[in-house]
């Protein structure tokens, strides 16, 4: 059998087996993907993120101001998951939005809360904390911030933090009411109708009902992202 014939035979086998056959590089990608994801405790979110939060990256969870929200629920689920795994999480709370009574007391055992005065201060704090190997997740709560609060932030700071997250292979999640930065690997919008009648519903049921959708970057933001990358380069 000549070389060409062999290639043709392999192609025929591949056609017959379809997706059941995988190359070594495919398997490597799968393995790497599996290893570098941190489960969130929410199956819907895990699905959207391809298995969990990408380690070494920033993920944005956007919960718009309005009748539908869910950002706080996602935060509670992540906190609960990290506590179950007996790991530590650091929360950078900008604007004092944290409410201790909203979370089960045992979940708070794994939480280190850092109260920050501004988004810039929270990034500076994350810059310090992201060098620490003791924490497996960093949460930035900017839900109370407006665009003008973060618009002046230098992209170099974002990239420096990303570099450190990558080095430590730690995930960071930014909760905001609108898309913030183009350095985020993924931006997901969370939606669940928030009504008075659901305030007594079990949280586990609310978690199941959370709906996620990937956010498309606006043209302006994409241009801004390219500019940021050029500056960082």
């Amino acid at each position: 059998m000549t070389g060409e014939e062999k290639i043709a035979a392999l192609a025929a086998i591949r056609d017959q087996l379809g997706s059941r056959i995988r190359t070594g590089s495919d398997l490597l990608v799968v393995q790497e993907t599996r290893e570098r994801r941190a489960a969130t405790g929410l199956s819907g979110l895990n699905e959207h993120l391809g298995g969990g939060l990408p380690k070494g990256h920033l993920t944005e969870i956007i919960s718009e101001r309005g009748p539908c929200g869910g950002g706080g629920l996602v935060m509670a689920a992540m906190l609960s998951r990290v506590r179950q795994e007996q790991q530590y999480v650091m929360l950078f709370d900008v604007g004092g939005s944290f409410t201790a009574e909203s979370f089960p007391p045992e979940d708070l055992e794994a939480l280190l809360w850092v109260g920050c005065a501004s988004p810039f201060e929270s990034l500076e704090a994350l810059d310090i904390a992201s060098r620490d190997e003791n924490f497996s997740l960093f949460l930035l709560d900017w839900r109370n911030c407006l665009r003008r609060d973060w618009s002046g932030l230098k992209s170099s700071l974002w990239y420096r933090i990303l570099g450190q997250l990558r080095e430590r292979e730690v995930a960071a999640v930014l909760f905001a009411s609108e898309a913030v930065t183009s350095v985020a690997k993924q931006k997901l919008q969370v939606r669940i109708p928030v009504t008075c009648g659901r305030l007594d519903e079990e949280r586990s049921r609310l978690w199941e009902e959370l709906a996620f959708s990937a956010m498309q970057m606006e043209n302006g933001q994409r241009r801004e992202g390219h500019k940021e990358r050029r500056q960082a380069g």
Binding site: G66, C68, G70, S97, T99, A100, L108, I128, R203
Partner: protein
């Protein structure tokens, strides 16, 4: 008892390095220089203690003459003590070059082997010692003297054979006074064993207090508590600079050297450092002292250097440094047992460093692990240090967790509320305004009425505003405000 013969001489010139060389320690402070101490080689050449130095030189022209040195004696004392600390923790510095060790924690059968090991370590470090083992500090001292007299390195006064063994010694070993010794020799008593066999009452009647004291010593009935050496003052290094140090770089160089030395010394005792004390003296007379605590005992050079250098970096110098003193607070290496199934901080040193920097950035009152306070006051939580261990999550008891989380707004967001039949009908505020389509409440709460001027009372509603979400509305002190949004 660990005893270093001719301690002052050994402190200046290590005996093990000058076995063949005749060496003597002389006292130059008198009108005529005299010999204070000499080694074996000098003794063989006829050099005696108390002899004039000139006379000693006449007998031994190659005699090496040394003078006492207080720093060398301190260094030798530290070496003796630090090395002995690897044996037992309770040690008394009875005299210069003489330590009494509390071996009550050591199994009897292991004592001789441990003694040999310590003697070997000291010999390697240049000090030759003899070790006497006995039931009481006094008997151990006698045993050490016996070892010296018999030319042995270790001598044990076994309790079961104590009188027989004492029979083989002279009265000098028991440090008997000249007058008492003469009286005893007239009675025909030549050994401590013979004296210990005398009845106590007869000794008391004939020899008085001195005789009874000796009798109690030899029969093992004289016990006294040991005054243990303070370890925290032991592991210290200091330097008075001949020049003024204006820069951090040379200071860190000295710190590095000190840490190297202290780490070796503390490691020799099987311990670690729990804190480092730094004392700086500046040329303007100001002293800076600080205790730098470690999150857990450590002896890692990198960690300790980072700790000290980090502190020195944060220090503002107004004058050059004149002297530096570093001291280790020693502790046992195993300070706590970790939880069997728990997990915790991977790197406590890094964590402490992160905390320090975060506190500097946002303020110490804004970093910590939140805990609910024992009050019904909404939003009240306190910050505690993050636990270094996390136990396995237990099955959650009590009522299930319900509802959304409250995203609190900063400050009071005042709201104008239109009421209808005691229920909010319309809410107008800076961030949100609208018709209330559903409301839950009111919930009354209050507290601290037992504290004068601190009492609080409020009414809460959860209000759903048309197309805007659910908010917490609060009525307190005759005003209404929105506390936050459910998310």
């Amino acid at each position: 008892m660990v005893s270093c013969p001719d301690f002052r001489l050994q402190a200046v010139v290590r005996r093990v390095h000058t076995e063949s060389q005749a060496v003597t320690l002389v006292d130059d402070t008198q009108r005529q220089s005299v010999v204070l101490s000499r080694n074996e080689a000098a003794m063989r050449m006829g050099v005696e203690i108390g002899m004039k130095t000139v006379q000693a030189l006449a007998r031994c022209p190659a005699l090496q003459i040394e003078r006492p040195s207080a720093p060398a004696e301190i260094a030798a004392s530290r070496l003796l003590l630090e090395t002995s600390l690897s044996w037992v923790p309770g040690i008394e510095e009875t005299e210069a070059g003489m330590l009494t060790l509390d071996l009550s924690t050591e199994p009897e059968e292991a004592r001789v082997d441990s003694a040999k090991r310590i003697r070997g370590r000291l010999y390697d470090a240049g000090l030759e010692v003899v070790i006497g083992l006995g039931e009481t500090p006094s008997l151990a001292r006698i045993a050490a003297s016996a070892a010296r007299q018999k030319g042995e390195s270790i001598w044990q006064l076994v309790p079961e054979r104590r009188l027989d063994l004492l029979d083989g010694l002279t009265l000098e070993v028991a440090e008997v006074g000249a007058e008492l010794k003469e009286r005893l020799s007239l009675w025909g008593i030549q050994t401590p064993g013979g004296f210990a066999r005398l009845p106590r009452e007869a000794v008391a009647a004939r020899l008085g207090e001195e005789g009874v004291e000796l009798w109690l010593k030899l029969t093992g009935q004289m016990r006294r508590p040991l005054r243990f050496a303070k370890l925290e003052e032991l592991f210290e290094e200091h330097e008075d600079f001949d020049y003024e140090v204006c820069d951090r770089e040379p200071l860190l160089f000295v710190v590095n050297r000190f840490l190297d030395q202290l780490i070796v010394r503390v490691a020799r005792t099987g311990r670690a450092a729990t804190a480092v004390h730094v004392l700086l003296t500046f040329a303007n007379g100001v002293c800076h002292a600080r205790r730098l605590a470690l999150p857990e005992p450590a002896l890692d050079h990198e960690i300790l250097f980072h700790l000290v250098s980090g502190h020195l970096d944060s220090l503002e110098w107004k004058a050059p440094v004149e002297s530096l003193r570093l001291r280790f607070e020693p502790s046992d290496t195993v300070a706590s047992q970790r939880l069997l199934f728990g997990a915790g901080l991977r790197n406590r040193f890094q964590f402490e460093d992160t905390m320090k920097r975060l506190r500097r950035l946002v303020g110490s009152e804004r970093v910590g692990s939140p805990r609910m306070r024992n009050t019904h006051r909404p939003g009240a939580f306190e910050l505690v240090p993050l636990p270094s261990e996390i136990e396995t999550a237990s099955e959650r008891g009590g009522p299930p967790v319900t509802g959304f989380t409250l995203c609190r707004w900063q400050g009071r967001v005042r709201a104008e509320v239109r009421w209808k039949s005691g229920q909010p009908e319309r809410v107008a505020s800076r961030p949100v305004s609208g018709i209330v389509i559903r409301a839950a409440g009111p919930w009354h709460c209050g507290g601290d009425w037992w504290h004068e001027g601190k009492q609080w009372r409020r009414r809460e509603w959860d209000v759903e505003l048309s197309g805007q979400g659910v908010f917490r509305l609060v009525e307190s002190e005759a005003e209404c405000f929105l506390e936050g949004r459910y998310d």
